[in-house]
């Protein structure tokens, strides 16, 4: 017989999002909470991030990944009303929230929660998604897999490394490889600006004299058994390689740090509608998806660069899930749709209750020196030196709503969020703007 577990709130994934959601659901009154985690320990991707830099915003300290996780884990373990199922993988999530998972001793288990928080994190994009021509030798890894090998298993995947993509994991790994005695020959980025955080460019590349080639990509992989080198070419504005710019770099390893994708298989099984921009669920300010009772937070919802905001977002979702479970349902009202406008690549939440006081998380499409953020024409904030790699947080207050009503009338069900560029160049902006 399949074991059936009833609970107020079920949380899928025990990374920082799942942990924070569990704690906050309990604080909000959930009688019992279940966390299901496929791995043998809690903490998610943080467990392999042994570098420091986590928690600056939340704890005003530079913690390592595991240290950050341990700010939450004891609280979860010590709470008898939070049940943690480790080594347990969720295989199926139905629209009515019934969850099927495999557990090593119980076999298949079924959960019937009143509310569910999705916290499955994300996964890395790979070479296939990019379709790099050439051979398929050993030695091509995603940066995260390489990180696991080095930090968790104690093995070096290679000695001479080229990194494709300037995402944060790639940058962190450039430094790790160098510190471990390997040679990082280059980081290659197709865009005219780096994808990772500015602090990581400084601390992981510049401090170690690792060259960063912008507007360039790997156009061929060489080597039969093991990678022997890569061809790097410059690209035009349409990302097409420019003939004649090829450069051969001998190496034994190619690391891919070309972006992360929210892990939304389960979300799709439950027919939860996704946003094509974030690749995660469409949610309201409580991080409730369009399926009532199903909430989402963390990297499964949109790719975060800072774990601090993962925790913050998960606390919102956990609290709201508990409230939903206690209320035994949703008091649904018509919601306002927020549409990303000028220079905005995505914005979250995509749906709002009228009058909701909340914070928008958004990213811009390109580096801009100075912007004003406007919702439905109402100015919310001004920001300087914004870049796509850094998520912006913008508060939406009561007074904004009042102005909105004046300008858009009571009934507007669609609001555009713009990030309007302001023509105020400063010497510093020019220095830090587009890096070549």
């Amino acid at each position: 017989m399949t074991k059936v577990i009833e609970t107020d709130v079920a949380i899928i994934g025990g990374g920082p999002a799942g942990l924070a959601a569990a704690v906050s659901a309990r604080k909000a009154g959930a009688e019992n909470v279940v966390i299901i985690e496929r791995h043998h320990e809690l903490g998610g991707i943080l467990q392999q991030c042994i570098h420091n830099g986590f928690g600056l915003h939340r704890f005003r300290e530079e913690l390592t990944g595991p240290e950050y996780a341990y700010r939450f884990i004891p609280e979860v373990w010590d709470d008898p009303k939070i049940d943690v199922y480790l080594n347990t993988m969720v295989l199926d999530l139905a629209k009515d929230q019934s969850i099927t998972a495999v557990h090593p001793s119980h076999g298949l288990i079924t959960l019937r929660p009143k509310a569910t928080v999705l916290a499955m994190g994300c996964r890395e994009r790979t070479r296939g998604a990019l379709n790099i021509p050439g051979t398929r030798p050993a030695g091509v890894y995603t940066a995260g897999a390489a990180q696991r090998f080095v930090n968790m298993d104690g093995f070096m995947p290679g000695k001479k490394v080229v990194i494709l993509g300037s995402g944060d994991i790639g940058l962190i790994m450039a430094r790790r490889f160098t510190l471990e005695g390997a040679e990082v020959k280059a980081v290659v980025e197709v865009m005219p600006y780096p994808a990772g955080l500015t602090r990581n460019i400084a601390q992981c590349l510049e401090d170690f004299d690792i060259p960063l080639y912008l507007r360039s990509t790997v156009t061929k992989v060489h080597g039969k058994d093991r990678v022997e080198g890569v061809t790097v070419s410059q690209v035009d504005d349409a990302w097409q390689p420019l003939p004649g710019t090829e450069m051969h770099i001998p190496c034994d390893t190619l690391l891919l740090s070309v972006g992360l994708l929210p892990e939304n298989e389960l979300t799709q099984m439950a027919d939860v509608p996704l946003d094509s921009r974030t690749q995660g669920a469409v949610v309201d300010q409580n991080r409730q998806t369009l399926i009532p009772g199903i909430f989402a937070a963390g990297n499964v919802l949109h790719v975060h660069d800072l774990v601090d905001y993962v925790s913050e977002e998960a606390e919102i979702a956990g609290r709201a899930a508990a409230e939903y479970a206690l209320r035994d349902g949703d008091t649904r009202q018509e919601k306002i749709t927020v549409i990303p406008g000028e220079n905005v690549s995505y914005v979250l939440p995509q749906r709002l209750d009228p009058d909701a006081e909340t914070e928008f998380y958004l990213r811009v499409t390109k580096p801009i020196d100075r912007i004003t953020i406007e919702l439905g024409g109402v100015r919310l904030a001004v920001r300087r030196l914004v870049r796509p790699s850094e998520m912006l947080k913008i508060r939406l207050r009561k007074d904004h709503w009042e102005k909105l009503k004046q300008e858009n009338g009571e009934t507007s069900l669609e609001l555009v969020l713009d990030a309007k560029a302001q023509p105020v160049p400063s010497p510093r902006a020019q220095r830090e703007g587009v890096r070549q």
Partner: protein, 520 residues
């Protein structure tokens, strides 16, 4: 490095290849360092060589297979379209026609016995112009002569009813329901496994470098230093069959290598077509196809590019554009963003255009050359034909009474019902540990694959699909390395992607800092 190299040759096969190990009696093991004698030796462990070995294993004789790669099935067999052709493409009277039509009929039983995924999804040859419609009718008539059963010509409406995602331009189709799809690598490894279970020996990492004949037996030398003797020799070395034939002093025209690139889509577009869709053929190939693979992905390809050498398995931007643009004319809904991986295979192009069965040494040496497409389809029939040739040359052995045609069933966790899942987990909790999350492959399946002969990351991947999904091993590779090392009893540093020097790891962490003694 020394240490690893030593483990890599045949010795490693004996220590590690568990199915091999269990089928080689102890007395014989000590011989393996020197020379071993067999009644018949097959060179080359592709889908053809392993089919021949399994056919030999049905008789009371000793048989062995020598394969240069670390696992069987890694030649052309690994990198093809996986189609079991119905047989209307080739001209009447050719070996290709005879053996592929016959081979096609053998697939149901074969795949049932060996528990290899196989489906008769049907083939559709499509036309968009009046000229192409004429060509289609020609193939219909040719199919009738070749003995292809169940063919029908569909008009525009009927064909779009069956395949609504085909381009509206397509006006006529020849449908052949007997066409199917199979997992070629799985078939080859299953044939080897079943042959071994019935007493045949499989030597991997065993590259034949020279062949002598002393008047009664072949003496086969290998790069690994071991030599073998046998009365009969079957050369099924695929692309390299011409080189082996030369070792037997046959004067032959060389094989014409012809490369084909293929591109694989994410599972989510898997049901865009159900038939394998063919355009009208070109002079050198059957054209660029849209193929629903036996695993539920869509694959497009192959190109057909003649090459001066045999080992170019690179994919190219030109190949991709050629394939993608021509399949747009067949199934315009395919989106290039959904492609998850690509590969290329090299066909052993025949100098005559047909399969070649060449004999040496009074018929005791049988050389299979130019086994190009539809060589996969024909493989089981080729094996039967080889046996006839050997019998003609004097091989007379009774059937093995206790031959077991069936292979122990493979647990494919993802395909089980909830009850079945619960049951396998109860028997073995490793089936509750999901290692590859894209394809839901469990540790139990990976361990089983290793027990059946997988020794490398690719071996595990092709047997279980771990690492074949949309993240392409990004997540599970470190775990699979771990399991392989544990099950094979070696250091993770010795694990390769696919044998040779394709090591995954370079050194222990910190070793590079200590002067790099472990490396270079």
């Amino acid at each position: 490095m020394e240490k690893f190299l030593r483990c890599r040759g045949y010795l490693c096969t004996l220590d590690l290849g568990s199915f091999l190990h269990s089928h080689i009696p102890n007395e014989e093991v000590k011989w393996l360092g020197k020379r071993s004698h067999y009644d018949a030796i097959v060179i080359g462990g592709g889908v053809v060589g392993t089919a021949v070995l399994r056919t030999l294993a049905k008789l009371e004789l000793s048989a062995a297979l020598l394969e240069k790669e670390t696992e069987v099935g890694w030649g052309v067999t690994k990198a093809n379209s996986g189609i079991v052709h119905s047989g209307f493409h080739s001209e009447p009277g050719t070996w290709k026609t005879k053996l592929s039509v016959l081979g096609n009929q053998m697939f149901d039983q074969l795949c049932e016995d060996l528990d290899v995924p196989f489906k008769r999804n049907g083939m559709m040859l499509v036309a968009a112009t009046p000229e192409e419609e004429e060509i289609i009718k020609h193939y219909y008539n040719q199919g009738l002569i070749n003995g292809v059963e169940g063919m029908e010509i569909l008009d525009q409406k009927a064909l779009h009813q069956l395949e609504p995602n085909l381009s509206p331009q397509i006006s006529m189709a020849l449908r052949a329901p007997s066409g199917g799809i199979v997992l070629p690598f799985e078939l080859a490894s299953a044939q080897a496994e079943n042959a071994a279970a019935n007493g045949a020996h499989v030597y991997t990492d065993m590259e034949v470098t020279d062949i002598d004949y002393n008047g009664s037996v072949f003496i086969i030398h290998t790069k690994q230093g071991m030599s073998f003797t046998s009365e009969y020799l079957i050369n099924s070395a695929g692309l390299y069959a011409d080189e082996l034939a030369k070792m037997c002093n046959l004067d032959i025209e060389p094989i014409i290598p012809r490369k084909g690139e293929e591109y694989l889509f994410d599972l989510k577009v898997g049901d865009i077509v159900s038939h394998t869709i063919f355009p009208v053929p070109t002079p050198t190939s059957k054209g660029i196809l849209v193929i629903p693979t036996a695993e539920g992905n869509i694959m497009i390809g192959p190109t057909a590019l003649e090459l001066p050498y045999k080992d170019d398995v690179t994919t190219t931007p030109q190949g991709f554009e050629e394939i993608f643009s021509s399949t747009q004319e067949l199934v315009p809904g395919l989106n290039r963003r959904d492609i998850i991986t690509s590969f290329a295979g090299v066909r052993a192009g025949s100098p005559t255009g047909d399969f070649i069965f060449q004999l040496s040494h009074d018929g005791k040496g049988v050389h299979l050359r130019g086994i190009e497409s539809p060589g996969l389809t024909a493989a089981p029939a080729i094996a039967e034909h080889v046996l006839t040739l050997l019998k003609d040359a004097g091989l007379e052995k009774p059937a093995k009474k206790d031959f077991n045609p069936r292979r122990p069933r493979v647990v494919r966790f993802n395909e089980l019902s909830d009850e079945e899942k619960a049951e396998v987990i109860q028997k073995n909790p490793l089936y509750a540990h999901v290692i590859c999350r894209c394809e839901t492959v469990t540790e139990g399946e990976i361990v089983d694959a290793i027990r059946r002969g997988a020794k490398t990351i690719d071996g595990v991947k092709f047997r279980t699909r771990a690492g074949m999904g949309r993240c392409q091993g990004g997540f599970c590779t470190p775990y699979v390395v771990d399991i392989l090392a544990r099950e094979l009893g070696v250091s993770p540093l010795e694990i390769t992607k696919r044998g040779g020097d394709s090591y995954l790891l370079a050194a222990e962490a910190k070793a590079l800092l200590k002067g790099g003694t472990l490396c270079d």
